[in-house]
Every structure is written in structure tokens, then in C-alpha cells.
């Protein structure tokens, strides 16, 4: 199955957070563990190990409530110009960014 296109993602989000990460199941467990490590440690250096924020904003489920997953994916991949948020697309691909966005929105703290 193909990954949903950008516009499809927006529509899905707009329809009431029905977003599901269609191809996340394809990410191997070992890679998911690496991604969680990246989220905790490297994202955590600005957003906090517990995602409660630091120099960067909080990324808790509450803080992100209502934010479209596709927006989170785009910020993860391409950063936010004018802020210290860098583009992470040299570390994660689109599918992995989708998965991370889902983890954040659900407030999950482990890969399972």
C-alpha cells in the first residue's frame, strides 16, 4: 500500500484525526527502537526527555492536541525556518516521520 499523499493527509486530519499511519507496520521493530531512542534523546535535548519542553516547545499529547499529523511530519522532516528546529530528513524518512508523529500524538513512550 502506498503512503498517503500530502493532501490526503490534510483531509484525513481535517476529518477528525482519523489519520492512521498506513505503512508504519512495515517499520522493523529494531528500527522503531532506534527511532524511540532518537525521540527520547535527540528530540529530548530541546523538547525534554519527558516531552514537557525545554528551549523547544512541549510535545506532550496535551500540547499537540488538535495538531494534524501531517504537519508534525513536515516539521520533523523539514524543520521550522527561523527557529532552532532543524530538518531531520537526513535521519528519518517520510514513513518514519509519520510513525514518530503518531507516537507523539498518542503520547506513547514505548515502541509497542
Amino acid at each position: 500500500m502506498r503512503r498517503p499523499r500530502h493532501k490526503t493527509g490534510i483531509i484525513l486530519a481535517a476529518l477528525g484525526a482519523l489519520w492512521t499511519c498506513a505503512v508504519c507496520a512495515d517499520i522493523p521493530a529494531a528500527r522503531k527502537a532506534e527511532l524511540m531512542h532518537l525521540l527520547d534523546q535527540d528530540c529530548g535535548s530541546c523538547h525534554g526527555l519527558t516531552r514537557k519542553g525545554g528551549l523547544g516547545p512541549a510535545l506532550t499529547r496535551e500540547a499537540l492536541a488538535g495538531k494534524p499529523a501531517v504537519m508534525l511530519r513536515e516539521v520533523i522532516l523539514h524543520g521550522r525556518p527561523g527557529t532552532p528546529m532543524p530538518p531531520w530528513n537526513s535521519f528519518v524518512n517520510e514513513q518514519e516521520a509519520d510513525w514518530l508523529a503518531q507516537i507523539l500524538l498518542e503520547g506513547k513512550t514505548d515502541a509497542h
Binding site: D42, S45, K52, L55, S90
Partner: protein, 396 residues
């Protein structure tokens, strides 16, 4: 007599053992070769000594220690640990236990101890500002909201240091300001404010003599400099446009200016968005060169004698440490200590450096002359390493 007392008082003896006493026998010891290592995920610190590379105690229950830092009491017995969750914990190194602990804010970044050792200041993110406490009791003495102008919005505060003259100096990240707090009356600090110092000042530090405060800028190429001997002259910009208009590289971890790496009137700072260490001549605050390095530098720290600089890096180069010879400005050694080297700390006279290798759950000890690894200690997700020699240094 003393032995009898020990045997007769079983309870007393057990309490001594339970406290994980640094010295199992009752003989007194100094603290000059002690330090702590932060275990960031476990919320604990290890008390270590550098003469024999041994762990003396583990102190738990310090909360969220991601990005934790510490300062020392002037007698170098107590470490004040600043946790991310706003926790301020006073750790007794000799007893290997918490002496006092408070949670003073929702989200904190660091702190400082005053020149006379009586005050502890903490810089906060949420709510922003600075709080000042008595170092013995941790009683709150002053709350400085640090809003810009008439704004009620509290700014996130970074780069908090002590300075001579009973002062604390700090930087407002959101507002782009530097403030100097005169603490002669700790309950009513007098504030000197410098607005418009530059875009997104991300950290600040003070020279070892306590004269110059300098803030690194993230939002533009340059540094903001304040002469604390002549604050009336204001903040000026130095090293403006060091990026020469080139597009900056992405920065995957903020650099730090916690330590002022300085030798022979030359200072060394991490460039932002360039894989370079900037060399500054302190006589005129002009660029005196730059050294190309393996990645985005995070810490650039000088060995206490000033002859070497040790540099670690942001991801993806955080498995690497480079050593620069300050005489030739050449890289003399590239080390690969392991995955995620987060922090480095020299022993007081610099013959060893201790490195946190977070993802390998180790702290390694290197000889700074031969670059050989002398020891390795198991530590759970180590980050900051802080030795008691900081107790006697301005700005640390």
C-alpha cells in the same frame, strides 16, 4: 572508646552503612578529588573520586535530570543539582545522600552560586525567570520574573552565571536581553537590563576573571559582549557576520557556552551552523582564526593549562571527540570514544579528562598527554560530569 561506641550502638552503625558513607571507616577525608556524574534517565547521580577512578555512592530520587547541571558550595562538600523538572537538590558528597530538595518551577535549565556562597540562583523555562534561594536552607529569597519591558510574559532564561560584586548575570532567550542582578540585598535584587542584544541568545558565560559576560546568538552570526567592569558602556556585538552570509548548516543539538575556553587572551567558542571553532583575540574581540572540525561543536573546553581544547559534537557526529593544540591551532587527535559523547570534564590540573558516553552507559577516563584510556566506569545514561574544583571558580 570509639570502637566500643560503634559496637554498643548497632543502630548508629547501621545508619552509617545505610547512608553509603564515602569513607567506610570513620576517618575524615577531603572533597578536592570528588565529583558527581548525572545519570539523566534514572534521575540519580554517582559520587566519584578521580584519584583512583572509583564510585563512592549513588544518590537517587533527583527527578528528571535530562540536561541537568550542578554547582558546588564553597566548602566543596555539597553539590546543588538543577534538574529539568525544576528540582533543586542539595547533595551531600561525604554522606552520599540528599541533604535537601525542593521543586521550584515546572521546567528549569541551570543555576549558579553567588560569590559569597550564600545564594543559589536557578534559571527557569516554565514559568520563565530566575529564582534565588538561600544556599543552606533552600529558602526562597527572590523571584525575578524576567519579562521584557512592560510585558507580563516571562522569558525563558539561559546562561545564568555568578560574577564578582555579588551579581548574577543571565540572558533572556525570548526577549533577547541580558540582565545583571545586584544581590547585595538578596530579597530585593537591583536589576540592570540590556535590551536588543541580538536574535535568540541561546547561552551565556563569563570569563574566568569574571570581567566579560558573553552570550552566543542562535538567530544571527555573532556574540553579545558585556564588560562587567564597565557595564555603563553597554552590550556590544562581536564577531558579527562570521558566517559570511553562507547558509548555516542544520544544528541537531544546541551548542553550549558553559565554560569559557581561554588561554593567552585568546578565546574559543563553538560556531553555530558551521563545523568550526571560532578563535577570538580578547584584546580587540576580533576573529583571530577558525578551526575546521568534525561536526557542529557542542562543548569547546580548554584543559586547565590552556594548551589543549577538547571538542565534542552534535548528532550525527556525537561519537567523536577532537583535540586541538592551541599553539598550532591544529587538530592533534581525533578520538571515537563511543556513541553519544555528551560531556567532558577535566581533573583540576588537567592530566585526565572524563567523558560521558551516554549510549554505551560508560564514563571513560583519558590521559590528556598520551590520549590513552585509563579507566572506564559503568554509569547509567551518563550526561553531565561536575568536579568539585568548580567550587573555587568564578562563573561555575
Amino acid at each position: 572508646m570509639r570502637t566500643e561506641l560503634f559496637h554498643s550502638s548497632r543502630k548508629f552503625f547501621l545508619s552509617l552503612v545505610g547512608a553509603a558513607l564515602v569513607s567506610a571507616c570513620a576517618s575524615p577525608r577531603g572533597t578536592g578529588d570528588l565529583g558527581i556524574i548525572v545519570e539523566r534517565a534514572a534521575g540519580s547521580v554517582q559520587v566519584i573520586e578521580t584519584s583512583h577512578h572509583t564510585r563512592l555512592a549513588q544518590v537517587t530520587g533527583l527527578g528528571d535530570l535530562s540536561h541537568a547541571s550542578a554547582v558546588y558550595s564553597r566548602d566543596a562538600r555539597y553539590a546543588y543539582v538543577f534538574g529539568r523538572d525544576g528540582g533543586l537538590t542539595k547533595v551531600d558528597l561525604l554522606r552520599g545522600r540528599i541533604d535537601k530538595r525542593i521543586v521550584q518551577a515546572g521546567n528549569a535549565i541551570g543555576g549558579a552560586i553567588s560569590q559569597d556562597g550564600r545564594l543559589i540562583a536557578v534559571s527557569n523555562y516554565e514559568p520563565g525567570g530566575v529564582k534565588v534561594f538561600a544556599s543552606d536552607t533552600l529558602e526562597l529569597l527572590a523571584d525575578i520574573p524576567a519579562g521584557s519591558g512592560d510585558s507580563k510574559r516571562r522569558s525563558k532564561v539561559v546562561g545564568l552565571v555568578d560574577a564578582p560584586g555579588d551579581r548574577f548575570v543571565f540572558t533572556l532567550w525570548d526577549a533577547g536581553e541580558i540582565w545583571v542582578a545586584d544581590m547585595h540585598n538578596p530579597r530585593q535584587p537591583q536589576m540592570l537590563k540590556f535590551p536588543n542584544v541580538g536574535k535568540q541568545p541561546y547561552d551565556g558565560t563569563v570569563t574566568p576573571d569574571g570581567r566579560y559576560y558573553i552570550a552566543g546568538l542562535f538567530g544571527e552570526d555573532g556574540l553579545a559582549l558585556l564588560d562587567l567592569w564597565q557595564p555603563e558602556k553597554g552590550v556590544r556585538r562581536v564577531l558579527e557576520g562570521y558566517g559570511r552570509g553562507e547558509q548555516p548548516l542544520p544544528v541537531f543539538k544546541m551548542p553550549h557556552m558553559d565554560y569559557w575556553a581561554q588561554a593567552n587572551d585568546i578565546a574559543y567558542v563553538p560556531a553555530v551552523g558551521r563545523h568550526e571553532v571560532l578563535v577570538i583575540d580578547q584584546k580587540d574581540w576580533k576573529e583571530a582564526g577558525r578551526v575546521a572540525v568534525a561536526g557542529q561543536p557542542v562543548f569547546v573546553i580548554a584543559r586547565p593549562d590552556g594548551r589543549q581544547l577538547w571538542v565534542n559534537f552534535a548528532p550525527p557526529d556525537n561519537d567523536t571527540v577532537q583535540v586541538i593544540d592551541t599553539l598550532s591551532l591544529k587538530i592533534v587527535r581525533t578520538l571515537k570514544p563511543g556513541k553519544a559523547v555528551l560531556h567532558m570534564e577535566f581533573t583540576p590540573r588537567g592530566e585526565q579528562v572524563w567523558l560521558s558516553v551516554r549510549d554505551e552507559n560508560r564514563v571513560d577516563v583519558y590521559d590528556t598527554e598520551s590520549f590513552e584510556r585509563r579507566a572506564s566506569l559503568p554509569v547509567d545514561k551518563p550526561s553531565g560530569i561536575f568536579f568539585t574544583s568548580r567550587a573555587q571558580r568564578i562563573g561555575q
